[in-house]
Symmetry: none
Subunit: 233 residues, 2 copies
DNA sequence: TTGAATATTACCCAATTGGCTAATAAATAA
DNA sequence: TTATTTATTAGCCAATTGGGTAATATTCAA
C-alpha cells in the first residue's frame, strides 16, 4: 500500500544496471567507475549476449549497457531480445562504432541511448539515470546521423488542437500501472496479485481505463495503448 | 581539423544561450535560473520568433531554447529558420506539448533536443551543455514517440531466424484474417459476422491462433501480432 | 486414390469479463 | 473547511471467453 508513496518520494531511486561487454578490462573498469556514482548499482555483467540475456531475465535491470561488437549474438540482436524478455528495461548502446547504419539500427532495435566509448563516466552516469526514466540520449558525435531520420514537416502550421494523447494524461498513475500489466496479457486476477490488491480493485481500474480510453474491451485498450505509446512494447 | 582537439580541451567552454518564449514570467525566470549555472550564459531573450531570429543572426548563440506556441511565426518555423541563418546553433524545444506530431516535426525541423517544461533546471542545464556539443536529448515523457521513427532493421545478421516469420507463416490465411479483426478489438461474434461464418468457426480460428502464437488469451495475441508485425497498426 | 491440411459447424463447461451500483479512506484542491 | 479526485473493496449479473472433443466438406499434394 505504501508502495506508490515510497516510489514518489524516492526521486533518487537506485538505478540497477547490467553491463554486456566482451573486453574484461572495459567491463570491469566500467563497473568500478559506475559503482562510485550515487544511485547507480551495477548488479551484474556479462562478456557475451547469451549470458547477458539470462542475467537480464533474472534481474530485470533498469538499464543495460550494451556493446555492439559481441561474439556470438551481436549487440543489435541482443537489444531486440532484451525488449522481448524485459520490456521495461532500457538499453544504452556503448560502442566505438560511429557508422550511421549502426546508430539507426540500434535505435530501431529498441535502444534508448547511444554512447561512444570515449564518453566520460560522469556524463555516462547522467545518461544512465535519465534514460532509466525514459529519456533518449544520443552522443554528440553521432546525433546528427540519427536526427537525419526525422522527416522535414511540410506544413509548419502546427496541426491544430486535436488531442491524440489527451487520453494519456487522463489516466492516473495507478491506471497506467494496470494498463501496462494488461498489455502484458495479464488477467484481472493476475493484475490483482501483482499489485497486491483485491480482484475487485483491479477490475475497477480496468473498467475506468476502458472508459477513459473510449474502448469496449481490454484488447482494444491494449492496442490503443501501444499505438499511442502510452506503454512501451 | 583542430576543431575536435579544441573542443576536447575546452571542457569548460561557456555555452551562449538565447531564450525565445512568449510568457515573460517563464522567460525571465528561466534566464535567472540558467545564469546561476556555471558555464551557461543567457546572452539574449525574445518574446517572439521575429525578434528572436534577429538576435540569433547577431549573436550566433550556441544554443536556442525555443518555445513551440509562439505568436506570429511559430516555434517550428522558427527552428527551421535558425538552421538557415546560423547552422551551428543548436535548438532545444522547450514546451508543454507532448503530441507525437510536434515532437517529430520539431526534430525534423532541426531541433536537437526536446524538453517538457516540467524539467528541473539542473537537468536542463546539463542538456544545454551536451546539446551544445552536438548531442541529442529527448525528454523521458516523449522519447518513445520519437524512437518509434527509427525502423526496425531487417537483418540483424546472425540468428533471428526464429519467432517472427515462423509464427507468421504458420498462420493460415483465414487465421490471419481473424487475427486482424481480433487486433481491432472485435469479439468472436463480431468476427463471425464480418466473415459471414458461425460464431463457432470464429472461435475455432481464435483458438488455433492462440495455440500457434503460444499465448494464453486474445490480448496477448493482439500484442504479439503488433510486436512481430504480423498485422500492421 | 489417398492422406494431410484447412475451413466449417456444434456442444459442454468452468472461468473471466465488463457493466452496474455503492461504500470507505486518503490525499488534494478550492 | 469543504469538495473533488483517487484508490480501495464488494456484490450482482449477463455475456464472453477459452478448452475440450468431434463431425463434415474441401482442397491440395503425394
Amino acid at each position: 500500500m505504501g508502495q506508490q508513496v515510497l516510489d514518489k518520494n524516492l526521486k533518487n531511486k537506485e538505478v540497477r544496471v547490467i553491463i554486456i561487454e566482451d573486453y574484461k578490462l572495459t567491463r570491469v573498469g566500467l563497473r568500478y567507475a559506475l559503482n562510485e556514482i550515487e544511485n547507480i548499482n551495477v548488479v551484474a555483467e556479462a562478456q557475451n549476449a547469451e549470458i547477458g540475456l539470462e542475467l537480464i531475465k533474472k534481474e530485470k535491470p533498469d538499464v543495460v549497457l550494451m556493446d555492439l561488437g559481441l561474439p556470438g549474438i551481436n549487440g543489435l540482436e541482443a537489444t531486440a531480445q532484451v525488449k522481448n524478455i524485459s520490456p521495461d528495461t532500457k538499453i544504452i548502446i556503448l560502442t566505438s562504432h560511429d557508422r550511421e547504419e549502426e546508430v539507426i539500427a540500434s535505435l530501431g532495435s529498441g535502444a534508448s541511448g547511444y554512447c561512444l566509448k570515449d564518453i566520460d563516466p560522469i556524463t555516462l552516469s547522467g545518461v544512465i539515470k535519465n534514460v532509466a526514466k525514459g529519456a533518449c540520449w544520443i552522443d554528440s558525435n553521432v546525433a546528427h546521423l540519427a536526427l537525419k531520420v526525422f522527416p522535414k514537416p511540410e506544413n509548419t502550421e502546427i496541426m491544430s488542437v486535436s488531442h491524440s494523447s489527451e487520453a494519456k494524461t487522463r489516466l492516473t498513475e495507478r491506471e497506467n500501472e494496470v494498463l501496462k500489466l494488461l498489455v502484458q496479457g495479464k488477467s484481472n486476477t493476475q493484475i490483482a496479485q501483482e499489485l497486491i490488491v483485491s480482484v475487485h480493485t483491479a477490475k475497477a481500474h480496468v473498467c475506468s481505463i476502458l472508459q477513459k480510453l473510449c474502448v469496449d474491451d481490454r484488447v482494444q485498450a491494449a492496442v490503443k495503448a501501444i499505438k499511442e505509446g502510452i506503454v512501451s512494447v
